[in-house]
């Protein structure tokens, strides 16, 4: 019956919009290969758990389809899917003991059994499992999770780690085609978590079934997965092997989220040369000449050498022993660069930083300017991004001026009423500032993202109403979720007409 396909799960255009209108998952396309260990990684609220719940069947996509072995299971309830879940807080049944918990699924199972009827024909009947079979299966799986002899124990008497094992046993005893794990190690302490990571990986190898794992812990993802899917705001940012994701992050978000990294704003000079921290470096990537780029350098790739031996010099301003290595911060001009090395450099020491071409990873810059659609008001201000800003409307027509009544007079002497005229608005990354005083600016929003870029931060302020983003660079420090107003100087708002005005 099964179509032969390598992909066990295929998500096509899957979108999940909640009752309050928020898109938790937005047009997600994803294929998972049979037997793979896939991890959905992202900060809380990125849609990873919602995606998992849709694969399990607890949540239905608003749009899109989910295929299992090539068959559409989008509308199939969870009890009809050959998929089992290990829940975040285990969800063990408190009124049942360990044995009854694990046997729960087996007792409900009906397997088709072929028997020969009276007239000699083979009849397929759905038969429940025999008690002895259930017992054998439970014992086998208990052995696998190292809990032999725990059958009669009440689940409330188990430790966190033991409950975790029962939860895993309860899921895998049903021999699912896919095992879903929703942050299963979140409640365990560090040591236990590390042990369980390895045990889970070993279990995955032994069982040979597909594991889909959800976590916000990047280290966990790197340790266990064959494939990592990095998500943010319901959208996949990057998908690849742990090595690819770590070494070749696609954007600043991924680089910042996976491991520690130095992120700098730079310019690609052409000819495999990139300029950042006021120096030119050789690199391996190729971009458009003079394109603005983000440069990522992993701390462990930063080599600190004696003065005169590297490309750029600086002063060590911090040095912390981290066990295996020292983590040191070197100040180069106004820019900080984090380095990890087994050799300690003392605070105050002057050193050179040496970067090899393959230490430098270049990514296309996400934002080079903010672009909006807006309209001109009666007062000759412009409305965009959920706010109203003073602007210079004369830039719409070269050589025009405003008359006393607020009409625009073109250089040809034509009088134009600009009210409700649709315009395109562009604001540069350096032209926005924010203030805690909510009346100071033209729009109000919350800081939703702060990414450190060496000598400055790139902030995103998002408004409430239409979730308009203001992206800008600043040297000041702010806190995420701060409520601020957005200030844009009148002369920094670039306007252009969307369409020629009918006269």
């Amino acid at each position: 019956m099964h179509k032969t396909t390598e992909n066990i799960i295929e998500l096509t255009g899957v979108t999940r919009i909640f009752e309050d209108g928020v898109a938790a998952v937005d047009n997600l396309n994803l294929c998972v290969k049979k037997g793979e260990f896939v991890t959905f990684l992202g900060p809380s609220g990125c849609g990873k758990t919602t995606t998992l719940r849709m694969i399990a069947g607890f949540d239905k996509p608003t749009e899109g389809t989910i295929l299992l072995n090539g068959e559409d299971i989008t509308k199939l309830p969870p009890n009809k899917r050959p998929i089992n879940t290990v829940f975040q807080r285990y969800a063990l049944f408190p009124h049942l003991n360990v044995y009854e918990n694990i046997a729960f699924g087996l007792k409900l199972r009906k397997d088709p059994v072929e028997t020969s009827g009276k007239d000699g024909k083979t009849v397929v009947k759905n038969k429940r499992l025999k008690k002895a079979d259930i017992k054998a299966k439970v014992e086998k799986v208990l052995k696998m999770v190292d809990l032999e002899g725990f059958e009669k124990r009440s689940v409330s008497t188990l430790s966190g780690g033991q409950q975790q094992r029962v939860a895993i046993a309860r899921a895998i005893v049903n021999e699912p085609e896919i095992l879903l794990l929703d942050e299963p190690l979140g409640a365990l302490d560090l040591k236990m978590r590390k042990d369980m990571q390895l045990e889970l990986k070993e279990m995955h190898r032994k069982l040979g079934i597909t594991f889909i794992y959800v976590t916000h812990d990047q280290e966990e993802a790197l340790t266990m997965s064959d494939t990592i899917v990095v998500m943010k705001d319901g959208v996949i940012q990057q998908m690849g092997t742990p090595t690819d994701i770590y070494n070749e992050p696609k954007n600043a978000f991924v680089a910042d989220f996976i491991g520690e990294s130095n992120i700098f704003s730079g310019t690609y000079l052409g000819n495999k040369k990139v300029r950042f921290i006021n120096r030119n470096f050789d690199c391996l990537d190729e971009f458009e000449k003079n394109e603005k780029v983000d440069v990522v350098v992993r701390p462990e790739d930063v080599t600190l050498v004696d003065k005169g031996e590297g490309q750029v010099g600086g002063k060590v301003i911090s040095s912390i022993f981290k066990g295996v290595h020292y983590e040191m911060i070197v100040l180069i001009g106004k820019t900080e660069i984090v380095a990890q090395d087994t050799k300690e450099r003392k605070v105050g020491e002057f050193v050179d930083v040496k970067l090899e071409p393959d230490d430098i990873h270049i990514m296309a810059k996400e934002f080079s300017s903010n672009k909006y659609e807006g309209y001109i008001t009666k007062k000759n201000t412009v409305c965009f991004g959920d706010g109203e800003f003073d602007c210079d409307v004369t830039q719409l027509y070269e050589g025009s001026i405003l008359d006393e009544d607020g009409y625009l007079i073109t250089k040809d002497g034509e009088r134009i009423d600009l009210t409700d005229v649709d315009v395109n608005v562009e604001v540069g990354l350096k032209d926005i500032s924010i203030s805690d005083d909510q009346d100071a600016g033209g729009a109000i929003g919350n800081i939703v993202s702060i990414i450190y870029k060496g000598d400055h931060y790139q902030l995103i302020v998002r408004t409430d109403e239409n979730e308009e983003d203001f992206v800008f660079d600043t040297e000041d420090t702010y806190n995420e979720n701060d409520r601020v107003s957005v200030i844009i100087p009148k002369d920094k708002i670039k306007l252009s007409l969307k369409a020629e005005i009918k006269r």
Binding site: G57, F58, F87, F104, R109, S156
Partner: protein, 275 residues
């Protein structure tokens, strides 16, 4: 320094309250209105009308057929009312606990509103309804049960609701995930986990609906005598001794019921309901 410690020491001595002393008001109340009356009842139960001690009243109670019939009728009314409350209350509590929005609180208030409406008002309204349906003055047993269910339904809904709202929804999801259909999820997970609520609901409804004779008297014009009305009658006839015996036996029944249900819920806890 010394001044300060002295001051503190003095302060401490003047406030020699401990937690035990906070119980004094209740202890006084308990003594005056529970323990003392109870002792009086015990005294009357063991004395005959002439004033001699003995078991005469108990002999009378257990040999008198009217008493037996009344006890049986009371238990029957209590049972039927409790089952009625459970069958109406459980679905209500279940649905209420599943509503996601803020409307839930308002709906819950609507269902328990009868509790805050004056009893006389409620009783009169129910009487009108019963007479409208032609039941009043004819179906005495049914009227009593309807009255009891109407009056004690909130006491069934509230404990059920508070248990159902607290059950971890992921347990139901887990059962669903492991292959259970919605019926199986209910019978294997939701229902067993709500047993503590069912027990406390039953305790809250069964005992009062066995005895609250005001309801039976109002809806049946004293055509149905339950144990409460019997005690009331006897007190009315100044037969304190007989009334006390019945009260004492009733008390025993209550103790037994509470012990049975209480013991049962303890066992549930041992299996980890508090997880």
């Amino acid at each position: 320094m010394t001044d300060k410690t002295n001051f503190n020491g003095k302060l401490k001595r003047s406030f020699t309250f401990n937690r035990g002393q906070l119980c004094i008001p209740y202890a006084v109340f308990l003594l005056l209105f529970v323990i003392f009356p109870l002792l009086v009842i015990v005294y009357y139960a063991f004395t005959s009308k002439s004033g001699s001690f003995g078991f005469d009243n108990f002999v009378w109670f257990f040999t008198d057929e009217t008493n037996f019939a009344i006890i049986l009728r009371s238990i029957l009314i209590g049972l039927v009312s409790t089952v009625g409350c459970l069958f109406i209350g459980y679905p209500v509590a279940y649905v209420l606990s599943r509503i996601k929005s803020h409307r839930r609180t308002i709906l819950l208030l609507l269902f328990v509103a009868p509790m805050v409406i004056n009893f006389v008002l409620r009783a009169m309204a129910m009487k009108e309804l019963l007479s409208f349906f032609g039941l009043l003055g004819r179906r005495h047993f049914l009227n009593t049960v309807i009255g009891m269910v109407y009056d004690y339904l909130p006491f069934m809904i509230l404990p059920l609701y508070s248990v159902l709202i607290k059950t971890d929804k992921s347990l139901e999801e887990a059962a669903f995930d492991l292959g259970a259909g919605s019926v199986k999820v209910f019978t294997r997970i939701t229902l067993p986990l709500s047993i503590p609520g069912i027990i406390s609901g039953i305790t809250m409804v069964f005992l009062p609906s066995m005895t609250s004779y005001v309801i039976s008297d109002t809806y049946t014009a004293k055509n149905i005598t339950i144990i409460g009305s019997r005690i009331d009658d006897l007190f009315g006839q100044n037969d304190f001794n007989s009334a006390s015996v019945i009260a004492l036996v009733l008390l025993l029944i209550m103790f037994v019921t509470t012990a049975v249900t209480g013991g049962f819920s303890k066992d549930e806890n041992a299996r980890g309901v508090e997880l």
